[in-house]
């Protein structure tokens, strides 16, 4: 086939290129630029090579210790909230009504937490948990529990986890509900005829049919919880001590608190890479799951 080559067409791409360059490429390159340099002030920069990166991955340095500890906290946090929100979301979706006005009522109630801005969610729970004026904090203390998220790391973790579960379980539930709704009645009828127990119906029909939406839910929840910043920042400010300082909070501290641009730039690049890798893993898993469905074979 003959192709017409018209170099003028490149001009049509130019506006997009300019916008992307201005909004993404230039800032990213600035970060890369900072990550390989050091400064002693006065806007004078020195070449530092991969210095920041090696420091970042070395536990014995201050930067490395802080980064790896916060990364560990982040992973632990994501693991905990996934372990709670996914089964809980499935459970909520399973117990939702399948038809009638109750469906609409449930959907609205479930969607409410999702519509609240992050910093408001943080503020709600910050006040809710206060031992002096917060409904939850006050009640817990009255019940004889020594609950104080400002001074006790365990309490701080519990508060943030419960907050995240409250905020985001709805998302998992809604996605699962959509997956469940797409299962034709015939499947349930066939299972009935086959004498399947409730558990067998769940494992043989519902779970496999929800697999794809569940993967999306897990991906979304992992990404969101891995990048979490606003809510814990508003509730605990990263404390007590460093116990709820996640990578994003650490990053802001280094970049804007200490103004260590080189360290912060290196950190954000590594942070970004971690997220990219996780995305790639999920993408691969999901497309593989798709391929499994394609190409029916034989059997007449």
């Amino acid at each position: 086939m003959d192709k017409t080559i018209n170099n003028k067409a490149w001009f049509l791409v130019l506006p997009v290129f300019l916008i992307v360059a201005f909004s993404a490429i230039l800032p990213l390159m600035t970060v890369v630029n900072y990550s390989v340099q050091d400064t002693f002030g006065n806007n004078k920069f020195f070449w530092n090579g991969v210095g920041w990166f090696s420091e970042l991955l070395d536990l014995s340095t201050d930067l490395g210790a802080r980064f790896l500890a916060s990364l560990g906290r982040n992973l632990l946090f994501s693991a905990i909230i996934l372990a709670i929100e996914v089964p809980l979301g499935i459970l909520v979706a399973l117990s939702m009504p399948r038809e009638g006005w109750r469906v609409a009522a449930c959907l609205v109630i479930l969607a409410l937490p999702l519509l609240i801005p992050w910093n408001v969610v943080g503020t709600i729970w910050q006040i809710f948990g206060r031992p002096d004026i917060g409904l939850m904090g006050y009640t817990l203390n009255k019940m004889g529990l020594d609950y104080n998220y400002v001074s006790n790391s365990f309490d701080a973790w519990c508060t943030i986890i419960v907050m995240d579960v409250w905020h985001w379980t709805s998302l998992v539930a809604l996605l699962c509900y959509a997956g469940l709704k797409s299962i034709p009645d015939a499947y349930y009828q066939a299972a009935q005829i086959d004498g399947a127990s409730r558990w067998a119906v769940f494992t043989a029909i519902q779970l496999p049919k929800m697999k794809r939406v569940l993967l999306i839910a897990v991906l979304l929840r992992f990404m969101d919880s891995f990048m979490i910043y606003t809510e814990p920042f508003v509730v605990t400010g990263g404390g007590p001590g460093n116990s709820t300082t996640f990578v994003s909070i650490e990053l802001v501290k280094i970049a804007l608190g200490q103004f260590d641009l080189g360290k912060a730039a290196a950190l954000s690049i590594v942070y970004n890479l971690v997220i990219l890798i996780v995305c790639w893993v999920f993408y691969t898993v999901m497309t593989n799951a798709d391929n499994e469905r394609a190409q029916p074979v034989g059997g007449a």
Partner: protein, 356 residues
């Protein structure tokens, strides 16, 4: 295996309208039945009542004389194949077939043996270790069927338009397979469809439903030769039966002022009923116009390959008639020659038996 009796059965999904009007009928053990009717005539409701997915609002369902109206699907030992193949995605073909037996807690070696037998019967043996999702629709439909057959005590196998998603060239094959299975296993099979070809080729007894009621049940030949209801005449056969309003007196019928001789005598037709005569296009021939023949306007000729049918008009009534081989069709009008042995008289859509 069972005989199924429906006693005064009726079903309403609420309100005054009946999805299924009161009926009493028997499905004999080992019979191959087709439940034929247009969409919305209540055939799927009837099927779901037999399988226990729907509990009827009136009447009883008996399996071998035992009342199972309120028994669960599981207790009834019914197998059902749905319109779209239902398979368990995560399982292999073998695991799919074993599923109903596993749920009933059978020993593993018994299950294995039974699954092998059924797979052999359905030509699924080469696929036993394959994931069931990857198979073609017809193989999936066989798995659905296999899950029903694998239980040795299954009372009846119900099919709800099972060939909907199957490629046309495989439909024939799968239907013959069903027929062969029916003969080999001596099972009661009930097959719901709106396709008359499917019904007539599969079943020894075709049950025609219309508007929530069974209008006729009989062999394909009976349905063709002697429709008990004008709907059966019209629904079965292609083209369907001609239904023409007529005045019937004694052994004569008057259509559009023209008198046709009948083989039987009709003395006691219900007064005030709508009287029609029905005759299949196969038993009416077009001929050159002649004084003794009912004349009709020819609208077009349908050539179906082996036969030609003339679409004609008598007054306002549309009519179809066979065109004899080698007959040169006149331009606009033709005479119609009736075969009196195949003319039926209907009063308010129901067949009236005349006196010989």
């Amino acid at each position: 295996m069972a005989r199924i009796d429906l006693v005064d059965l009726a079903h309403s999904y609420g309100g005054d309208t009946y999805a299924l009007k009161p009926m009493t009928m028997t499905w004999r053990q080992g019979g191959a039945y087709a439940l034929l009717g247009p969409s919305g005539c209540g055939k799927t409701t009837l099927l779901n009542i037999i399988s226990g997915i729907v509990t009827p609002s009136h009447g009883k369902v008996l399996f071998d004389g035992k009342d199972i109206t309120n028994a669960t699907t599981r207790e009834r030992n019914i197998a059902q194949v749905f319109q779209f193949p239902v398979i368990y995605d995560t399982m292999t073909v073998g695991e799919n077939l074993a599923f109903p037996l596993k749920n009933r807690g059978l020993a593993r070696d018994v299950i294995g043996k039974r699954v092998k037998e059924i797979a052999e019967l359905l030509d699924l043996t080469p696929f036993l270790d394959r994931k069931a999702v990857r198979l073609s629709p017809d193989a999936k439909q066989k798995i659905s069927l296999g899950r029903g057959l694998v239980r040795s005590d299954v009372a009846a196998v119900l099919f709800d338009e099972p060939l909907t998603v199957i490629d046309p060239h495989l439909k024939w094959e799968l239907r013959s397979k069903l027929k062969a299975l029916h003969q080999a296993l001596d099972l009661t099979m009930i097959y719901v469809t709106h396709d008359q070809t499917e019904a007539l080729t599969f079943a020894d007894t075709v049950v025609v439903m219309h508007d929530g009621a069974v209008v006729q049940s009989g062999t394909p030949e009976e349905l063709f030769a002697k429709p008990a209801h004008t709907f059966v005449g019209y629904f079965i056969g292609s083209p369907g039966m001609n239904i023409v309003p007529a005045e019937v007196k004694g052994n004569e019928a008057k259509i559009d002022g023209h008198t046709i001789k009948l083989n039987r005598t009709y003395d006691s037709l219900p007064v005030g009923a709508k009287i029609e005569i029905g005759v299949r296009p196969e038993f009416v021939e077009v001929a050159p116009p002649a004084p003794g023949l009912l004349s009709a306007n020819i609208e077009r000729i349908d050539d179906l390959g082996r036969v030609r049918f003339a679409r004609v008009r008598i007054g306002d009534v549309k009519f179809a008639a066979k065109v004899p081989n080698g007959f040169l069709v006149p331009d606009n009008t033709a005479g119609l020659v009736f075969d009196p042995a195949h003319i039926h008289v209907y009063a308010d859509s129901l067949l009236v038996e005349g006196r010989a």
